[in-house]
């Protein structure tokens, strides 16, 4: 019997939650209002229990969830189990597990698909959804362990799969890219779909030193925050010259004035690649670092070049242990147009994941691992050439071991 099928108690009433009630006011949407609405309508006691415990947290300023182990058949990850530490106080909140569902790339839905999810979720779960988690999962929040498998099976039949958790490849994130954006330099959505499908096994069964995240941004504006928040940050870029629509440039200058051009475009170019020459803007593409700024200000006049591809940055992650770590350039450019290009990409990333799997310490992200072993060793292992674009500048300390040295005794004597 699913939650929904349980007879709704006609006398269902929420308990007082004075601390939370204050959050029903104000112009911003209120999650409390939403929760209450669903609880009232469905009579779901789990939601009442969770509201009660949450109100208690607001009073005591402490959290009361603890983890456990809940899963679906054949998978080792994807369900975040939550048990109340104070279920004696709030028995209705005893279980409140979350199912992490991988949405389609770009977080696109049809209303049909969403309504189906809602129906299944109302049947088995709390009706609460976190849409979306910071990693990009559709988080179905609040289900009892006993309903998890059935709920998953129904969703899976409509093409929904679980996301990652623990030491797995995690759910990916992609910007809206080619679906709507003129800046997209590769097909973020397709790449996302293909790469993450390829890594399904590693998503569902923890076999890695620690988590691994992919994010796909169509251009260096990086609307998915990939450099900061993913181990593998895939950013669209181009190698040839910026495309210029001269007529639109002239219109822009006519409309906005030269001062505006100077103060908001020319002087903002990080590498002084743009100069004013006879009242016109001239771009020296050799000095352009594809920062996007001038294209952002003048989207009608300037566009990415035609020789497009991606830059791969590796090692982004959060605060733990080392302080925030931004990803850094590992592949300055590779094409990403064809299926073969994407296969080559996957092959390369496979080598990185393999190296890390073998060499990473427990709970060590790939960025930390590279930092620990030294980038030279990593490059050699994955078969990449060093490129000056990997660094802001060459080393400033003399502590390096270049070349092989002879170990034979003769040589030792000569010393």
């Amino acid at each position: 019997m699913s939650e929904q099928e349980q007879q709704k108690d006609q006398s269902f009433q929420l308990n007082p939650t004075p601390m939370l009630d204050d959050l029903e006011n104000g112009p911003w949407p209120s999650f409390i209002k939403g929760f209450k609405e669903t609880a009232q309508r469905t009579g779901k006691t789990m939601v009442r229990g969770v509201l009660d415990q949450l109100n208690y947290s607001y009073e005591t300023r402490m959290g009361y969830w603890k983890g456990g182990v809940v899963g679906v058949h054949g998978y080792g990850a994807g369900i975040i189990s939550r048990y109340s530490m104070i279920s004696d106080k709030f028995p209705e909140a005893t279980e409140f597990h979350t199912m992490r569902i991988q949405p389609a790339p770009g977080l696109h839905y049809s209303t049909k698909s969403l309504r189906h999810i809602c129906d299944v979720w109302e049947k088995y779960g709390s009706g609460l959804i976190s849409m979306h988690g910071q990693t990009g999962n559709l988080q179905l929040q609040g289900i009892k362990a006993e309903y998890v498998q059935a709920c998953f099976d129904e969703l899976n039949q409509e093409g929904w799969d679980l996301g990652g958790a623990g030491a797995t490849v995690r759910t990916g994130l992609s910007c809206v890219g080619p679906a709507r954006c003129e800046q997209a330099c590769y097909d973020t959505l397709h790449a996302h779909g293909k790469v993450l499908s390829y890594y399904s096994d590693l998503t569902h069964r923890p076999q890695l030193p620690y988590k691994a995240k992919f994010k796909f941004s169509g251009c260096p504006n990086d609307c998915t925050n990939s450099i900061q928040r993913s181990d593998y940050s895939v950013i669209g870029t181009w190698r040839d010259d910026i495309k210029i629509n001269e007529a639109e440039v002239e219109k822009f200058i006519a409309a906005k004035g030269v001062d505006y051009l100077v103060n908001n475009v020319i002087t903002r170019c990080p590498t002084k690649a743009i100069t004013l020459q006879g009242g016109k803007m001239v771009i020296d593409n050799r000095d352009c670092v594809r920062c996007m700024h001038c294209l952002n200000v003048m989207p009608k006049a300037l566009s990415p070049g035609d020789d497009r591809g991606i830059t791969l940055l590796v090692g982004g992650k959060g605060h733990l242990k080392v302080g925030n770590m931004l990803g850094s350039v590992m592949v300055p450019f590779m094409k990403m147009d064809t299926e073969e290009d994407m296969d080559a990409f996957i092959e390369l990333v496979d080598r990185m994941i393999d190296y890390w799997s073998e060499n990473g310490l427990d709970h060590e992200r790939i960025g930390e691992c590279i930092e620990r072993v030294g980038i030279q060793q990593f490059l050699d292992a994955v078969g990449l050439e060093a490129s000056v674009e990997m660094v802001s500048h060459p080393r400033d300390n003399p502590f390096f071991k270049a070349g092989e040295y002879s170990t034979d005794e003769e040589d030792r004597d000569a010393a």
Binding site: N25, P29, S110, T111, P178, D201
Partner: protein
Amino acid sequence: MATAARTWKTVENGPHELDEFLHPISKKNYGKWSYHERPRPGVLKHVALSGDVLFTVRAATHRQVTVDIVRRLCDLADRYADGYLRWTVRNNVEFMTPNAENVDPLIAALEAAGHPVGGTGPSVSAIAHTQGWLHCDIPAVDASGVAKSIMDTLFHDFAHEEMPNRVRLTTSCCEINCGGQADIAVVVQHTRPPRINHEILANVCEMPSTVARCPVAAIRPTTVNGKPSLMVVEEKCIYCGACFGACPAMEINHPEHSKLAIWVGGKNSNARTKPANMKLVAHGLPNNPPRWPEVGELLKKILSAYKAGGRDWERLGEWIDRIGWKRFFEETGLPFDKFMIDNYRHARVSFNQSAHIRF
């Protein structure tokens, strides 16, 4: 049901197929867009090389939604957006339509349903926030409540495009910072070492993992009441709370001693300057539910100084780079203190190794 025989065989497909979820105009002009404009706050107009036009209306959600809310949004999508909708990376919902005449009614309907429209261009978009007391097992604060309180305070600037450039906020309910870097971030900060719950430790703790989790090797094996347990060398401990993620017996959270800190100047885009980490500008703020007014006040101060002083296209951190940190603290009225000077691993690289000084 739980015991009924399972007939379905799992299909491990990873992300859901996209094809059936794309708006037909998106599909037709896929990868062939020409430019965009912003007709008004909350609305984008994308023009394809084919000449097709696609309007996007962006509206706020509170992320921790429900089936009722999602169904309501679906109703609007069916009515005004051909049955498609998408979410942004900041938990805003977007409706796309080629019909200009759908835009205004859609906006009205969204706002009536409690979903204000905005978050585009140089505005304060929705806060990227985390789980908090609602769901996570290690939070010191409730993320949804903090986010709601802040957005109520800053609401005007979600619905208007009056900032020098886009403003991205995050909140995180522990120092791990799942919310990530941002122009302004509100993150939990602990002010004392974890207390060890020796009662439960032996049962719940994978001790070697917990020891390994500590960034400063402050955790050591010990014996308590004859049972193996752990101890924390308090002089070494930097109150990061990482051990609590590994083991629930390392009780770092405390109603008084877990505080909030404010960080500014994070930047993820590559526009103009390289991406940058955010920097600490206030700490020790009280954990004050249900409204955390001290946090909102401080964010208002920072944002109004930025709004007044920032130049067009200058992100918050870029504005500070230009005027200097000294003036940032002067203009926001925040005090600078010694704890804001880094003393962690790469501390040296943040020191002022020059005679460049503003007086």
